[in-house]
């Protein structure tokens, strides 16, 4: 139904012998916030660099706004706001210079919005980028990424290593961006609670493979956490085919499953287990279960 802003099909990429991306598909619907999660080295940054046209897909296709970001970089990049994980800003510039420099690249730069953000973030125009703290640097990078009101905002680990106040600024920037009709956000993070908060879709990468892409609410409601108690302590670890993860010791175990709740419960009952609690797991628990099985 809805059109895709980013459409990635069958993209694979290796660095030497290491497979960074393996037949990855990803579709980012217009107006959505997609949270890309995965462990370090899962391929998140590599995937985002394909979206930005910094890497050329060797196999598969990448389309952003229906265009190839490698062949058509100017028209694609002018509509993208990007904040990289390393926040590579020119150290020798002052904040004011950074703003006018960035503005030169983007015809749609909004001076009033940039100024509003600068004051909100308490950055002074003549402060040198080199002297900024980590949090200030993230804020300066954020101004450069969103003041041209991009159609697509791409953030690579925007909150890593930042204090809660700056993280809040970043989350509200994401929210403001989508609240402006039809704008889209694709961001990677390993702060799962944050992803759960602001994303409406989640994409889970693991060792270069896309494990799942789904609306957030579907992911949360299709997984179940059961706590089960057995008459006798189990002498070997609990193992169930339909479960993603079983954890515990002795008489009490926690079982996390996806969708197959009825069959998991039947199996547990057959083992003389009494289910003492049924709950909805958090995205964090689901992620851990999927990664470590």
């Amino acid at each position: 139904m809805s059109e895709s802003v980013v459409d990635i099909k069958g993209v694979s990429r290796s660095f030497g012998k290491k497979v960074a991306l393996d037949e990855v598909d990803l579709s980012v619907p217009k107006g959505s916030v997609v949270g890309l999660v995965g462990e370090n080295g899962a391929g998140k940054t590599t995937l985002l660099k394909h979206v930005l046209g910094l890497f050329k897909a060797r196999t598969g296709t990448v389309r952003v706004f229906g265009k190839d970001p490698v062949k058509d970089p100017e028209s694609v990049l002018s509509e993208i706001g990007y904040l990289s994980e390393v926040r590579d800003l020119p150290d020798w510039m002052k904040i004011g210079e950074l703003m006018s420099y960035t503005k030169a690249f983007f015809p749609s730069w909004d001076d009033a919005f940039a100024e509003e953000l600068r004051q909100m973030f308490e950055l002074s125009l003549d402060q040198k980028v080199k002297t900024l703290s980590r949090g200030q640097r993230a804020r300066a990078g954020l101004i450069a990424a969103i003041a041209h009101r991009p159609q697509l905002l791409v953030l690579d680990e925007p909150s890593s290593g930042l204090d809660p106040v700056v993280r809040r600024d970043i989350l509200s920037a994401i929210i403001r961006t989508v609240a402006d009709e039809g704008r889209t956000v694709l961001f990677s993070s390993h702060l799962l609670d944050e992803v759960q908060r602001v994303s409406d879709h989640v994409a889970m990468l693991h060792l270069g493979k896309m494990l799942l892409t789904s609306p957030m609410d579907d992911v949360l409601t299709s997984h179940h956490r059961l706590t089960v108690r057995f008459e006798q302590p189990l002498d070997s670890p609990l193992k169930l085919d339909a479960a993603l993860r079983c954890e515990g010791e002795g008489r009490e175990w926690t079982v996390l499953c996806n969708g197959e709740r009825a069959s998991v419960e039947a199996q547990l009952t057959q083992l003389d287990g009494e289910i003492v609690d049924r709950a909805a797991p958090t995205l964090d628990e689901i992620f851990v279960a999927r990664m470590n099985g």
């Binding site: 609240a179 908060r197 609410d217 909805a280």
Partner: protein
Amino acid sequence: MQIHITEADGTPFYQQVVNQIKFLVASGRLDEGEQLPPVRRLAEQLLVNPNTIARAYRELESEGVVASKRGAGVFVSDSGSPLSRKEKTRILHERIDALLTESSQLGVGVDSLLKLIEQRSKKFDSPRGGKS
């Protein structure tokens, strides 16, 4: 309007917002005809996706808890009372179910539980107790 959402349990956020607004209506903290905050403002306040809030409002509207007036915003429905009665029952059912589960796990039967409830409720009968 004070809403608190948590990622600590996996209940989808839109559902948490729906439940809490229903609770506010049922308990009279949101009056008939009162306006709910605009989607964007509530999203920024709670730091959640605006689509989540929009979905919660749609859900509340389809259940008749709120009504949106074109261009003016979203308001608590006038026909709140029968619904709020139903909602009160629903909220209590939820708590009762949780209590029954817990007491059965503790090996306390329904009869003893009822007695306990009566005893405890006497504590609230003093003049300082909540409104009936």
